[in-house]
Point group: D2
């Protein structure tokens, strides 16, 4: 890490007291997004910032269409412009990256939602093309009131308006893929990515497989609120200011993303059709319950059939995202 980078550290109070960056244990590393540095794939780019395990990254992201990018005269090159990547020192293939969502705040006074031809769960779309199918392109704007913690929907075809409570989260949180792949920022897959998971919000921790040295974490696609399934293809799309604390579990390999909070363990399955996403999420959750809590796989299968919760995050992206979870109160004490 060079000197100028060092200077970009935002030293937290406790570390300042110690009078030395080098001794800081829980530093906050800040990266202010440069629009020219936005990425449009999860892939092996040079990092915009290097951090250590235990550090908190403080940064900002732009909305899915990059309105904030165009506003400063930079050309947007695709959907979901990404902030990053962030290089986590010591991360090696075979490790697990831990991403704790410390704060996720809407950056701005309004969001937007839209219908776009060829994209959406009930439209004729790129991967489910239907003759004569189609909806018109259409945009809704949502004023956001942070004090009241709501965004406001204004119907286009009537006078109806209604407030929607904010639940800010990042639609895109992912690392560089395995096998030398680079994937579009529209794609969710084994490496996380455009999961459109409301679980990527304050209070939750995300685990991602490390596929390349440094992991290379990308963030983007802020959502002020979203319905299950993100059925027309958009949430309330916003720019964000976020802080995420990163950590490593060395020599721990996971096949698919996982979430955890105080009350739940949550396995993510990502594919098409939804049937397969459900199968992936549940077999992963069963493996996890077996490793973590010592239940046999058949006991875990049976217990989930009585207690599991399923969250359908989205059914509009190139892959679909299912979260299968179990409340920890139904589990033996973790090993």
């Amino acid at each position: 890490m060079d000197n100028s980078r060092l200077c970009s550290w935002l030293l937290v109070v406790s570390s300042l007291a110690l009078g030395s960056c080098a001794q800081a244990q829980n530093r906050t590393a800040r990266y202010d997004l440069k629009m020219e540095d936005l990425k449009y794939t999860y892939g092996p780019f040079p990092p915009v910032l290097k951090v250590k395990a235990g550090d908190t990254i403080e940064t900002n992201t732009v909305d899915a269409d990059g309105h904030a990018v165009e506003a400063v005269g930079v050309k947007v090159r695709g959907p979901n412009p990404l902030t990053g990547p962030f290089y986590v020192e010591g991360a090696e293939p075979g490790d697990t990256l831990v991403v704790r969502f410390v704060s996720v705040d809407v950056d701005g006074k309004e969001g937007w939602g839209s219908l776009v031809a060829g994209f959406g769960g009930l439209n004729s779309s790129r991967y489910t093309p239907i003759l004569g199918g189609g909806v018109p392109n259409k945009v809704w704007t949502y004023p956001i009131d942070k004090a009241k913690n709501v965004a406001t929907f204004h119907a286009a075809d009537s006078n109806f308006t209604v407030n929607i409570p904010l639940h800010p989260f990042l639609g895109c949180v992912g690392v560089a893929p395995a096998d030398g792949e680079a994937r579009s920022s529209i794609v969710p897959a084994e490496f996380g990515g455009n999961m459109d998971a409301p679980e990527a919000s304050v209070g939750n921790t995300l685990y991602l497989p490390v596929n390349v040295p440094g992991a290379l974490l990308f963030l983007g696609d802020g959502h002020a609120a979203m319905g299950d399934g993100e059925i027309d293809g958009t949430a309330i799309e916003v720019s964000m200011r976020v802080r995420v604390k990163v950590d490593l579990i060395k020599h721990k390999t996971i096949q698919w993303p996982r979430f955890e909070n105080d009350n739940y363990i949550m396995a993510v399955g990502i594919y098409r059709p939804l049937d397969d996403a459900v199968r992936i999420a549940f077999t992963e959750l069963i493996h996890w319950m077996h490793e973590r809590n010592g239940l046999s796989e058949l006991d875990a299968y049976e217990l989930l059939s009585k207690t599991a919760e399923i969250h359908l995050d989205e059914m509009v992206d190139p892959n679909y995202v299912i979260v299968a979870k179990i409340n920890k109160k139904f589990l033996p004490v973790a090993k």
Copy 2:
């Protein structure tokens, strides 16, 4: 209705006060299940009881494997033995049957769950056969404590036990199908049936299309509690004592089942793959929001993308069941 049937009416206090059955407005009609009269298809059987719109049916159901049937020496002829059918006077094709769940109580002191070869979301199954796939047949027994409102899971392969809160509901609630069909009691479809919907519980109302005169309502497959997806193919399977109030909406046609309660309208989509079940549920919900609340279809689509909730009821039966819903607080006043 003959005299003996008349005597089976359980007259509620208010109707007694009026001194006359004929004048009673909200009668309770009781049918005590005869094991020989169990049905194994939703189809055009002679009714076990005729009721009027506005009546409450009080009856009992047996568990999915019919343990209670065998206990009295009657042969079980298949899964999900059904109580009924109940004939609702005045119901004609083109009407909608309204089923309000007044009480749904576990009838007995234990339930069961099981793994069965060829059935289950993560097994090799009849419709998703996998070479070499398979789990052993296995049964778990769940003691039920109604005072504490819990059932207890005992792990088969370790000493772990845990209590699971009861949420009693009917896995099977359906009417005779359209087009002269008769469907196995294992099947959920347009006529309802084996939806394994936790929504079929106290506080909720179910709407079903009327396909034949009298509607012919069937009930069965009681569940003391179930996880989302019913992933291994079983809930905590129990016999039940239930009361459901039936009503009619004349000349109102619906294509798929719907639920409603004080807070939500809920459209049910039932098919394979889950992708199609989601598409059915959401297009139905959009049509409903348009008819009921006056939103344009595109506004409804957009609003759902921000506020919808999805419940995956089951992914193990011959068809899969999705509930798409919206909180009424996000909707214009109903017309």
Copy 3:
């Protein structure tokens, strides 16, 4: 009809007087369709004719929309009006019904094809509903020249015409379903039914599971020619004159329909999505190769991966139909 045909008829009451029916060996039993007797479900109807194993049934069927029915002033009650059922004496659940297609001839001088809103592989449809999706209702008429063995397509929106070679087959060949079910004549499933299989044509033999006494065979939905997938929902739809020879394999149970001819064994998989139909067809074919030819299941799996042929019959009906087959020249001598 020539004299030899006449002689092979099953002589009704008057023939009994001759005292020779019982000795007849390969009789032809004729049933001339009565429009009032058309059926619209595969189910437990009283038979229109009883035949013996080894008999040939000679009868006629009407087109999928029943134009021929309306022509004589009888009301059509749904799609795919069915001729039958034919009761095969001695057929019991657990047996296999053998249907050999002796002759399948177009009955008339033209056929039709159409687009119908809500039905079709590339339309918004009942089970894959798409917002704004849809094609207009539209009909094409196909003159049929039996001498030249062609039907002629006339484009609706240009002057283009082209001849299509005839390949006459029955879209509907099925028996009464298992488990007390009755299924619409639009449905293909374990009992056969609306398989829209070009394999149901002269030179091929179809095996169906017997689910009820007498099997109860139904025939209908003649096709003069059809493309793979029947992608818009219709073939060249015609009335037919057909002769099928029925036989029984006692105490032989099959789970799904099978076809066979001199060169191929063919297993049919019927469900949604197509992925599952493929899995069903191949696992059935592997079991068949194991039983019939003595190959181990793993050898059969590997050999199919090198030599199998797949025919996608249709992707428009409530279930989809896949035929997986292997040329007998690649198999050990049958046991």
Copy 4:
């Protein structure tokens, strides 16, 4: 192109006669595979050879597991090692690359097939995981007799052997993907790739979208013969010697790969589930028939429903591959 590259040109007689490379019209450019230069993704690598539109590339490929690679002591880094990329001068995004298969010959005396845990259409697999599912890892070796044009299957569990006619083709033919993506050599998608299409053989022409300057063509995964669906995950896997003639259609954009030969136009649909692959292939074919032959889209839809042929290439890779085609004899004269 530097000098050493220039020397690798194999100048055909006619071009030599002209005395100048620059003037040659139909040159053959040869690249002898260097094992260290194998690629494992379709992505933006420096080219191994630059060619001109109209040139024929002569090269060789290794088998899917890289046995030929290990044989010379080079480490194999994944499945489907790829030869290339070949840079086609003048190719720009928005053009179409034309690949004509001039010769495709097995390079060696035997091939192999195998079962691998986690991969295969009837196995528990990465994207369709099944509890307890699984087949053992197992390899079959296929001696190849080019004189007789057959490979020989030897059963593992019996003495059965049978000859299988050769149909040599390339399982992998693809270009660098759009949107800055790089995809594993196991993946088929819009850019072609691991399509496992028997259509990639002598007599056929493949069209691929150009996504990056030079197109960057990759070749690999030779198959001596394959069954429809490649159901256990392998064909008869071999190294190959191939010649492909490349050309460009400037300013012609296609969304998905297409094949053509003297008799057929063929559109490729690639996704999951198969239902969506079929929808993609047919909508593309309808657009093609509209542009090429002037049929209206509804006439094309109807005509395909009567005459289309469908080929299920594979149902085992991360995406599934369907080819929908129509015989040119059923089409108006191409514009």
